[in-house]
Amino acid sequence: MTAPNPEDKKVPQPAKVPEPVAATPAAAPAAAPKAVPPKYVPPVPVLNHKNGRLIEDRFTTWPTQVFANRWSRPGFQWGAGMLVAIFGGLAVTGIVVGELATWADKFYAALSSFAASKGLSALFVEGVWTMIKVLIVLHIVLINGLWSIWWERKISAHIQSRVGPTYAGSPKGWNFHGWAQTAIDGIKLLLKEDITPAAADKWVHALAPGLVVAPCIIAFAPVLFGDNMAAASLDIGTLYIFAVAGISVIGIVMAGWASGNKYSLLGGLRGAAQIVSYELPRGFSVVPVLMFAGSLDLQIISNAQAGYWHGIIPRWFIFYPVVGQIAFVIFLISSVAETNRTPFDIPEAESELVSGFHTEYSGMKWSIFFLAEYAYVLLGSFLLATFFLGGGASPINAAPFTLIPSWMWMLGKAMLMMFVFLWVRWTLPRFRVDQLMDFTWKFLLPWSFVNIAIAGLYLAFWFK
């Protein structure tokens, strides 16, 4: 920290304040034992170490100075260390351990040999194995809720020049950027009173959150988390995901209807209209990808993007000229619309409908809607990574990058896409309802058809 430069006009404040002058002895306190009043020491302003100026120079009169460099707080140091340790540890385990899929194969072999030694049927093995896979996928969805809500709060805060959650965690300094904020919020939501309005249809009201969240957990079954790492390898994986994820609309409409509230009803109907409309461009934008890959199986789609053009550019579908980019953008836009997030959040438009279809929900039921929203964000991110960003393939055709296991690449690409989701949300304002419908029916849908046509031309003349 440098001393304030007297020539610098940005830091005149400490110099201007006159200290209690010794020439006026009358200023001394009356009580004799307290000889001298504590001398006023102006606080040292936080200066930029590069140019010695005040960091916050956008304020003219107030605030003038900031106490204490926040990086000197132990929480930030510990937290930065933790972050480095987490990412470093992840990278090291990834490189040392390699594929998680081989672990799963070993565990499955051990399970079947155990069943054979005990004389149990193959059905038992399959049952236990499916249960384990279901639990893993379920926990991916739940932990994603914790992580992505925290991440969204931090990103939104930093986009708006705030800091977001800072103190949740531990009073002893293990509070890196409020890492425990979502967990504590979750505990709070679990303990909150669960209110059902008197006007509500009680059964439908209670059933709606379940009907929203169950399909999106089911939709995770064929999602690829790395090469050969899906809970179920379906040949119609793409179709299955779109079909199952579409069921959530019914839950939204039910929530809107059963609340007995006009705002909820409007929100539910808007949600239904929006999701049904955006299903179409979302489905059609993937069709070129399916045409190039020749399959609906996510694993085959991912494998079709292996390899590099000229040994440099990865053969991902997003790098297919024109078609790939249009398909990617349309799929991204309609994925954002599917999750009811901000540019498309007319179902829960806060300034028009109080909070849309979940106005009348509280406590855990309300948080289940949020869990479903973030699960859909994760689903969209993984689908984007699988369809357009080459699944578990490395973007750089060089040794240290190609050695990193596929699930880490997959996770990294999905997190990048999730960041795009959050970024879009905190940048764009909300559509109007008619603009929203115009956008999908008059713009996205025709262009996705055009895209399919161009893809057909590519298949006819380029990839013979």
């Binding site: 404040q13 201007k16 304040v17 006159p18 200290e19 209690p20 006026t24 009358a26 200023a27 001394a28 306190p29 009356a30 009580a31 307290k34 009043p37 504590p38 006023y40 102006p42 606080p43 960091i55 916050e56 956008r58 009169t61 107030w62 605030p63 003038t64 100075q65 900031v66 106490f67 204490a68 926040r70 707080r73 990103i155 805060a157 930093h158 986009i159 708006q160 020049s161 705030r162 800091v163 800072t166 970024w423 879009v424 905190w426 940048t427 764009l428």
Partner: protein, 170 residues
Amino acid sequence: MIRYFSNIANNTKALIQGHWITLKYMFKPAVTIHYPDEKLVPFEMFRGALLFDQQVCISCNLCVKACPSNCIALENAKNETGKKIAKVDWYSIDFGKCNFCRLCEEACPTKPKSVWHSLDYEVIFVKRDEMVRCWKKDFPFIGKYFDRKAQDFKDPEGQVSIHDVQPRRS
């Protein structure tokens, strides 16, 4: 046709610009001040809590007359013969009434001012009695308050930093 495509191009450009701005702001430092850990120093003419210095005060009653909300009260000290002297016997400020207007400080004829606004903005009271701060002869410099229940002068509990003597500006 040309309009349609130029429209698409312009809108795409606008979207990319907006996203670029938010991305830039994400990596800028936040403007948040973590209040209990980091505190702002108010600007020089800030009118914080009133402070009083009974050594300087000449008990001229000008601040009492200047006060629009009638929150200051004082009484002259008397010498052994019962004659009023230019010293204050007791002086009280009712922070419940004070509207922080600086008229008392401007009216004060002494140099340095015997009543003045500090830069202290953490003015907190836990009891209603605490809002009336009294200075009496031979009391410590800081303001005590008169607890009506205990019928005694006490040190305030809610006040955070009025105990620190702030700098004077005149």
